[in-house]
Subunit: 322 residues, 2 copies
């Protein structure tokens, strides 16, 4: 697509990792979408992100409207370095395309012995605020991690929409109805008919006014500080304004103590229900990764066709790969 | 209760402010509960909080097991001062009693032109994690603010439990049933019978696995960094381990620009539904405050009796006050 090898490798690594941990919606199926953005000029494939400035424990990263994954890796490194020096740090990432899966970056922060928070606003309003009937908010995801037990860190990563737009669109294609409380039609009435989304309806935020409030804070904070602007105001309707925060655990307690208490807490959680009924945040991803590292990643026929079509567009031979 | 005038004034101001903005559950009704803690020795009424240490943009506040409100005011001042100097700051508050309404403190942070985040774990497990049937988590509240329009800042403040334990206990007293999805009985079955909570049942977290995940992160992060320990591990089952984070908006964009875009966003939100159907986070509190500053705060007979009983305990005359 015109990306130099190092940028292409970073994006490939990030997408495959999403498949590996079980989030196929954020995996290699995205290549086709990215290809469209490169062709439309929204994604500049050879743009390198750069640290625009660092002042004490704050930094601004300029993504140059390139690959969001490369920009996010730079933002993650920067926030970890600053938090090591100052105890805590905040990095704002501006002018970037789809950053991928936020959970990947906060996991890197917790692997560095820190608490990590990341959230971004998303281009194009599609979620109605609590009490409203029109699209105002993006799907605005939020991620939060802390060092966990020896096996895995606790990584929370969710969309503030009840369900991902992609899942509703796919349900609409196959004529399935969707769970009540996820969708309004274009008149603002509750709907379980997935095709109402494409017809001008709105997604709902998770958790009533609480989830809607989180989405509002993300749109305002990440939208304005990144100058991407909230989805409902942005002219471009494009890109992810993203904020990364890190806090060095060892300033307050030893990392060993933190992880030891976390393990104790993990046991209590596991005993709070039937076996395997209670998972820690990040545990599904850890279990899926363990399984897929041994057994490989199954690709649906839809994803396979998607990759084949993308490869054909660039004259790439997939023989021996699929 | 043995508090010096300055500490007593700070607590009184904080409690009345909660009544003023419409959160009577966090208002002067708490005096009776605090009095019990003073009598049991959990709350040391003349203990002053102190900044244990500050290293670059991180600080630890030792509440000395005194009043949570005074300790939180010190934590809020400290995090604002540090964020002014370093751009962003994190303050952990340890060894403190009930901090009151987190929204009050993040509102002070946004009034200083900053984004504020605060969350705390709460003593005594009462919430079952998603997928579980036993009490593991506290009601672990989360608050987040940014500078808003000219009228008010956007202040989100919620319990990660579906409903406050206090509301369920009050419903139980009056024999009311509660909304489905809020409660499990002691056998782990869904219940709408409020008395099942007192009988060993569990509250549920809001928003399914997402809200439950937020509660887990709060219990682990705030519980361990403050050394209060997660509710399910703490021996004392007491106090609020609290984390305050501030980010100086003016490092990234001018405060005027931030507030001007926020106002524009507020208008879009207000037009997303019927008049007064869509509120920004903090708008209910702003409206209630405007009303109560003019018309006064109505006190229910239950709160009145509560105050009278507390006053009698300390030989305080309320004549002319109630």
């Amino acid at each position: 697509m015109g990306a130099p090898l190092d940028l292409a490798s970073a994006v490939a690594k990030s997408l495959v990792l999403s498949n590996l941990v079980g989030h196929d919606s954020h995996g290699i199926i995205r290549l086709m979408e990215y290809s469209g953005w490169v062709q439309s000029g929204n994604l500049i494939p050879n743009a390198y992100p750069k640290v625009e400035w660092t002042r004490e424990s704050t930094s601004l990263i300029d993504g140059g409207w390139g690959w969001g994954q490369s920009a996010s890796y730079l933002a993650t490194e920067t926030v970890i370095d600053s938090a090591r020096k100052y105890g805590t740090a905040t990095v704002v990432l501006s002018k970037t395309n789809h950053v991928g899966r936020l959970g990947e970056y906060v996991d890197l922060i917790s692997k560095a012995g820190m608490m990590g928070i990341a959230f971004c606003n998303t281009g194009g309003p599609i979620v109605a605020p609590f009490g409203g009937v029109k699209r105002v908010l993006g799907t605005n995801p939020f991620a939060w991690s802390v060092p966990g037990s020896a096996d895995f860190d606790y990584v929370l990563d969710f969309s503030t929409a009840v369900v991902a737009a992609g899942k509703i669109i796919m349900a609409g294609m196959s004529g399935e109805s969707i769970q009540p409380g996820s969708l309004l039609d274009k008149a603002g009435k509750p709907s379980v008919n997935a095709s109402d989304l494409a017809d001008g309806g709105s997604l709902l935020a998770f958790g009533g006014h609480k989830g809607s409030g989180l989405s509002v804070l993300i749109d305002v904070a990440a939208g304005i500080l990144s100058e991407n602007m909230p989805a409902a105001i942005s002219d471009s309707g494009f890109g992810n304004g993203t904020i990364f925060i890190a806090v060095d655990v060892s300033r307050f307690v030893s990392l060993d103590l933190f992880k030891s208490v976390a393990s104790q807490f993990e046991n209590i959680m596991h005993n709070a229900g039937e076996p395997n009924s209670v998972l820690l945040p990040g545990e599904f991803e850890y279990q899926t990764r363990c399984d897929r590292e041994v057994n490989g990643i199954s690709i649906s026929s839809g994803i396979r066709e998607n990759i084949e079509e993308t490869a054909k567009r660039y004259g790439v031979s997939l023989s021996g790969l699929l």
